[in-house]
Amino acid sequence: MSTLSRDQVRTMMGEVLATQGKELPADDSTRLDTIGFRSLDFSELALRVEDELDTELNFDAPQLRSIETVSDVLDFVEQLQQA
């Protein structure tokens, strides 16, 4: 399976936020609650990644609950791609 780079996923995350008129800050330590990136936004991001990879990335809800920052999102997508 091909994988997306951290930068590519970051760009897609920015696109998800942009559809809601929000902006992704440059600092990856920014907390998700301060930029309004919610769990369904993560789902949308995951679907966009799936679309690029042409494969499903299924995961359980508890895994999402530990995600707090932009960096956590990028780490998690990285892990999903490696699983």
């Binding site: 559809t19 369904l40 949308e44 679907l47 966009r48």
Partner: protein, 248 residues
């Protein structure tokens, strides 16, 4: 104040089972309201084909068995390639039942559950995955039944599947927070389907016992589904029963 914008009216709707009866009326009504429609059923009736021939740019039809996951997935791909992103779904396709539970074979029970509950759940998952990625937000309507709320002989498995869809609808409405409005419309029994098993005298008796004085028709259901697809009502997670008041 909330920062969540209202979910927009439907612009492209997937309606399952649109070849006849209520499904066909829902297709017609949705097109009249200006949205594009994609619909499939096991076979395409001449009425649906005629409508597709009249409106080739706004109506996409296909012959698909809802229990065939791969075919349903391909239909969504083909329909969105033709019409653009699909943002709304009406889960209408179902098979009926008219048999006492003790006389319904296990195979028939499994078939009703697969068609009326498992397939719509899998399709809804597929639709949400498509709509979240392509449209972002949308609306979902489950066509269920008054049979899910009241006991009617001969409908044990059918009622279980429709009640299951109502339960899934409520959970989805919460799970899809701010992204999808999810509701059910529960029709009473249609005069046309009852007339196949009941005589005129029995039909008249049922109509007399219905507070509105008449049984429901597909034309009664379409405006309610239409409102859930197009109006900014903020209705979410609800079952709207349309049965002339017979269940009260």
């Amino acid at each position: 104040m909330s920062d969540v914008e209202p979910i927009p009216a439907a612009s492209c709707v997937l309606i399952t089972g649109g070849s006849r009866g209520l499904g066909l009326e829902l297709v017609r009504d949705t097109l009249r309201r200006g949205a594009k429609v994609a619909t499939f059923s096991r076979s395409i009736t001449p009425e649906l084909q005629a409508l597709a021939d009249e409106q080739p740019d706004t109506l996409f039809v296909g012959s698909v068995d809802i229990t065939d996951d791969a075919a349903v997935k391909q239909f969504i791909k083909d329909a969105s390639a033709k019409l653009g992103p699909i943002d709304s779904l009406v889960n209408n396709a179902a098979i009926g039942q008219d048999s006492m539970h003790v006389h319904t074979s296990p195979d028939r029970i499994a078939q009703i559950v697969t068609t009326n509950l498992t397939a719509p759940l899998v399709l809804t998952r597929q639709f949400i995955r498509h709509a979240m990625a392509k449209a972002g937000r949308g609306r979902i309507v489950m066509v269920t039944s008054v049979g899910a709320q009241r006991g009617y002989s001969g409908l044990v498995t059918y009622a279980a599947t429709k009640g299951g869809l109502d339960s899934a609808m409520r959970t989805l409405a919460r799970e899809m927070h701010g992204r999808f409005l999810v509701n059910s419309v529960a029709p009473g029994f249609f005069a046309s389907e009852m007339s196949s098993v009941l005589g005129n005298e029995q039909l008249s008796a049922i109509s007399r016992r219905t507070p509105s004085g008449r049984m429901v028709t597909p034309e009664n259901i379409a405006p309610v589904v239409g409102s859930l697809l197009f109006d900014d009502t903020n209705l979410n997670g609800q079952v709207i029963t349309v049965d002339g008041g017979s269940s009260i």
